[in-house]
């Protein structure tokens, strides 16, 4: 089936939803394509159908902002089509999305496309990190607060991210027996945030609500520490923690060992910009955050005509920046489509741009403090880098020593990134290992993506070719 909309938005998180609201208000016909059963994205995830969360303590502090955004969307529901559980796996001529929905392939044409793919958690490996029971911190939080399942009794949260505190608060509220937080940044570094927390009202209330939960039950803090290895047979049983020096290299002899059931890892986030890459949008490398991100102008327009990129998928800025990004992109497109006047556009746009500038100052500081330092990438040779294919650090380094300079070349030599996740988890790790071996980032580049972006059953194409697609 082929559909056509003036504006198509990929992703129903804060950026996608705000873009949709802005466009629909201007009278633009808009469709949202979302991989999940619900809107809200990761940060504003709604309880699943049939679930009612009755107590405030299970909700994160940002819950109310998300609720408001979703209410605004619902008011415009007649003007916005939402395709749920729809996986976008490809793109035709930068004019049409190829979407897998209910086991069938749909083509969705657009005049303007908004890529709001969000973020994924950054993985930094250590010995034993692939053991069952070791999850991303965000994934763990989803299980606890959205699904109501506490998957163990003793928890360790490790990494370098403000998210760790939020997840610790959720675990405490859910009745975890033990919560350890192993944070790579020092207390001193975090003090720099204090003036910002005090001056931003919403941050202050978020901070206080977390601290109350953490203080009510004792949470054991290890800092500046990292998880150096994990042990267990069929699941994780034990974590070995090590103190970090200033470059975040584990200090020999500082190891301490704890028994745990579940580990949540939070090393910050990476832009998830698969479609942006497939579209051929120009990217730039951010050396502090250690990731590639697509480039846009101030109106969130990418280097490709009629394609906007908003929210975390164009560089991690958090939900507040994402919401503004979405509104800016939506408003710019509404103006270009002739649905709002020049006057309306310039009046409102200035307000949005200024607001974003103010929030960005705080985000930059946050990103600076928690940015992962090189020491964490001093991997033991046997550490698995590519989870899907079981490729170790030793094998990756051997590939570099064979002369691979482009990450795509290294992929062909070592077969990393050829599993089901297609390098989503390990690409950033491999990139850092190459940088460690003095390969310049411009030579390394990033993985070339081709459709389908994720596994699609071959039979689906056959059905589509014979029935639906006539071209």
């Amino acid at each position: 089936m082929t559909h056509h909309y003036k504006a198509v938005i990929l992703g129903a998180g804060p950026a996608g939803l705000s873009a949709a609201v802005e466009l629909a208000r201007s009278g633009t016909e808009v469709a949202i394509v979302e991989d999940n059963p619900d809107v809200g994205g990761q940060v504003y995830r709604q309880p699943p159908e049939g679930f009612i969360i009755k107590e405030e303590k299970h909700l994160v502090a940002r819950h109310k902002i998300g609720h408001q955004l979703i209410q605004n969307l619902k008011k415009l529901s007649g003007k916005i089509s939402i395709v749920h559980n729809a996986y976008t796996w490809g793109l035709c001529n930068n004019k049409c999305l190829a979407v897998l929905h209910n086991g069938k392939i749909n083509l969705i044409e657009f005049d303007k496309l908004f890529l709001c793919e969000g973020a994924i958690e950054r993985s930094i490996p250590f010995r034993g990190w692939t053991l069952p029971g070791i999850m991303t911190a965000g994934g763990l939080q989803k299980m606890v607060i959205n699904q109501g399942l506490l998957p163990g009794k003793r928890f360790l949260l490790a990494g370098s991210s403000p998210l760790l505190l939020s997840v610790a608060a959720s675990l405490v509220a859910a009745g975890a027996e033990f919560v350890g937080v192993c944070e790579a940044t020092s207390y001193l570094a975090n003090l720099r945030l204090l003036p910002n927390i005090l001056t931003h009202g919403s941050l202050l209330s978020e901070f206080i609500s977390m601290q109350q939960k953490l203080l009510r039950r004792s949470v054991k803090f290890y800092r500046p520490y990292t998880i150096a290895s994990a042990e267990g047979e069929a699941k994780v049983r034990k974590a070995i923690l090590a103190k970090l020096d200033n470059s975040w290299v584990p200090i020999p002899g500082s190891e301490t060992q704890i028994d745990i059931d579940i580990v949540g890892l939070g090393f910050g986030f990476l832009p998830h910009a698969r479609l942006a890459r497939l579209c051929g949008c120009d990217h730039v490398y951010d050396p502090l955050q250690k990731y590639w991100k697509p480039m846009t102008d101030q109106y969130m327009q990418s280097s490709q005509p009629n394609i906007y990129i908003a929210g975390d998928s164009k560089g991690i800025g958090g939900a507040d920046v994402a919401e503004l990004d979405g509104r800016i992109a939506g408003m710019h497109a509404a103006f270009e489509l002739g649905n709002i006047t020049q006057r309306e556009f310039s009046d409102q746009m200035n307000v949005l741009l200024n607001k974003k500038l103010r929030i960005k100052k705080y985000v930059l500081l946050l990103n600076q403090i928690f940015a992962p330092r090189d020491g964490l990438y001093d991997l033991d040779g046997d550490t698995i880098v590519c989870r899907c294919e079981g490729i170790t650090a030793k094998e990756i380094l051997a590939g570099i020593d064979l002369g691979a300079r482009d990450i795509n070349e290294l992929k062909r030599i070592t077969r990393f990134g050829m599993g089901l996740c297609q390098g989503r988890t390990c690409e950033s790790i491999v990139t850092q290992l190459m940088i460690q071996r003095d390969v310049s980032i411009n030579k390394i580049g990033y993985l070339n993506l081709r459709p389908p972006l994720s596994p699609v059953q071959l039979g689906t194409f056959e059905t589509a070719a014979s029935k639906d697609i006539d071209r």
Partner: protein
């Protein structure tokens, strides 16, 4: 393989959907509507979702990115069970023969 005692559905503050039965590698497991298959399996003590080179893997990202939890659901392979909600009678098979042998 089996850690039933550790995972716990929170009772206070949550109202769940209706009780359903799902079938995992031939074994009947109770779950609630609104739960993902990953939640239901972990609640029942199944933390291992598959193997890569004979090393166990579990649910890792829980948001549909890492594909660590891929299983065959109602005949469709490579289904991410962390995003797929349970339905009454749904048939789930691990994709790895070794895991089926052990269980």
């Amino acid at each position: 393989m089996y850690d039933k005692s550790l995972a716990m559905r929170q009772k206070k503050g949550f109202k769940r959907g209706e009780l359903v039965k799902i079938v995992y590698n031939g074994q009947i497991i109770s779950a609630y509507k609104g739960e993902t298959i990953a939640t239901a399996l972990i609640a029942a003590g199944h933390l291992v979702s598959g193997y890569s080179h004979s090393q166990p893997r579990g649910v890792y990202c829980n948001i549909g990115i890492c594909h660590s939890c891929a299983m065959k659901v109602n005949g469709i392979g490579n289904t991410r069970i962390c995003k797929t909600l349970v339905t009454d009678g749904c048939q789930i098979e691990s994709q790895n023969d070794r895991l089926r042998e052990i269980e």
